[in-house]
């Protein structure tokens, strides 16, 4: 099965890297959308359905925490799993974001297999 994902990060380099890592890890994508912040992510989601959202937290404009709040408040979008990708590995921040509705958390730096494993776990994909 191929998946549709949305990558949200204010760094174009990071968006490109995450996309490449997902593709190179063998995780099958049928579509990959990108957004520069939470507001752009919500615009994408008005038009496109995705199976998972990968989001940074520290972004100018609508940041990752606010994006999680908006997703949780939306009847349709609240069911889409969101995985946070962030430099912040502190327990406080992780707990806070999981409480806001994040289904997964990947700390930068990460190995490609870590991101793939988190995607598979979040989407309920059987391991190879």
């Amino acid at each position: 099965m191929a998946y549709r994902v949305l990558i949200t990060d204010d760094s174009p380099a990071m968006r490109s890297f995450v996309r490449r890592v997902i593709e190179l890890s063998g995780f099958e994508l049928s579509a990959c959308f990108e957004a520069g912040d939470g507001a752009e992510a919500m615009d994408v989601l008005k038009k496109e359905w995705v199976d998972a959202i990968l989001t940074d937290i520290n972004m100018p404009g609508v940041d990752g925490e606010e994006l999680l709040r908006r997703l949780a408040a939306d009847e349709l979008l609240c069911g889409i799993p969101a995985i946070v990708i962030s430099t912040d590995a502190t327990q406080n921040r992780i707990a806070r974001l999981l409480a806001l509705g994040a289904r997964g958390y990947v700390t930068k730096p990460f190995r490609p297999e870590t991101l793939r494993a988190e995607l598979e776990r979040t989407l309920g994909v059987p391991c190879d």
């Binding site: 912040d88 406080n92 700390t107």
Partner: protein, 159 residues
């Protein structure tokens, strides 16, 4: 402890995200070296600031690997973007190691010197912790300075 965290973070970030095995600790580059300098501040307990100085050749090589592009076809914008992200990741990794239970927030990284002529900004003071590593294409120096809480006069004389 901070220096060990800095060294560990630099190595971990370069290896995990940039697939780069460093060639070990090195001396800081001379003042006139062709480097890119990035600065970012962070809020937390304590707050502070972080700087990264990266040899330009290394910046381009690292960016090419990160983006899966040929170094010759990279735009300056792409190289800068990756360099900023590298600084962001190293700083975050250091802070997570120093205080795993604290809350901190990184400011946006920015290039403060992109050439020798630009480099008029004062470097972080002597009390900043520094670590320099050889990447194979040039050196990377990471520096971090945590602000220390100043005792009030009452606290000072009470102890």
């Amino acid at each position: 402890m901070i220096r060990a965290a800095l060294a560990s973070a630099v190595g971990d970030v370069l290896e995990s995200m940039f697939f780069l095995d460093t060639l070990g600790e090195a001396g800081e580059p001379p003042a006139g070296a062709d480097t890119v300098k990035v600065h970012l501040s962070f809020e937390g307990d304590p707050p502070g600031c972080f700087e990264m100085r990266l040899a330009r050749r290394a910046a381009n090589a690292i960016a090419a690997d990160f983006l899966g592009e040929d170094a010759g076809s990279l735009t300056p914008r792409q190289s800068t973007d990756v360099t900023l992200e590298l600084a962001n990741m190293i700083c975050g990794a250091v802070l997570s190691r120093i205080e795993s239970s604290a809350t901190f927030r990184l400011g946006a990284p920015r290039v403060v010197a992109d050439s020798v002529a630009d480099d008029t900004r004062e470097p972080l003071p002597e009390e900043a912790t520094r670590y320099t590593v050889e990447t194979g294409s040039g050196t990377l120096t990471a520096s971090i300075r945590m602000e220390t809480r100043t005792c009030t006069a009452t606290e000072k004389y009470a102890s």
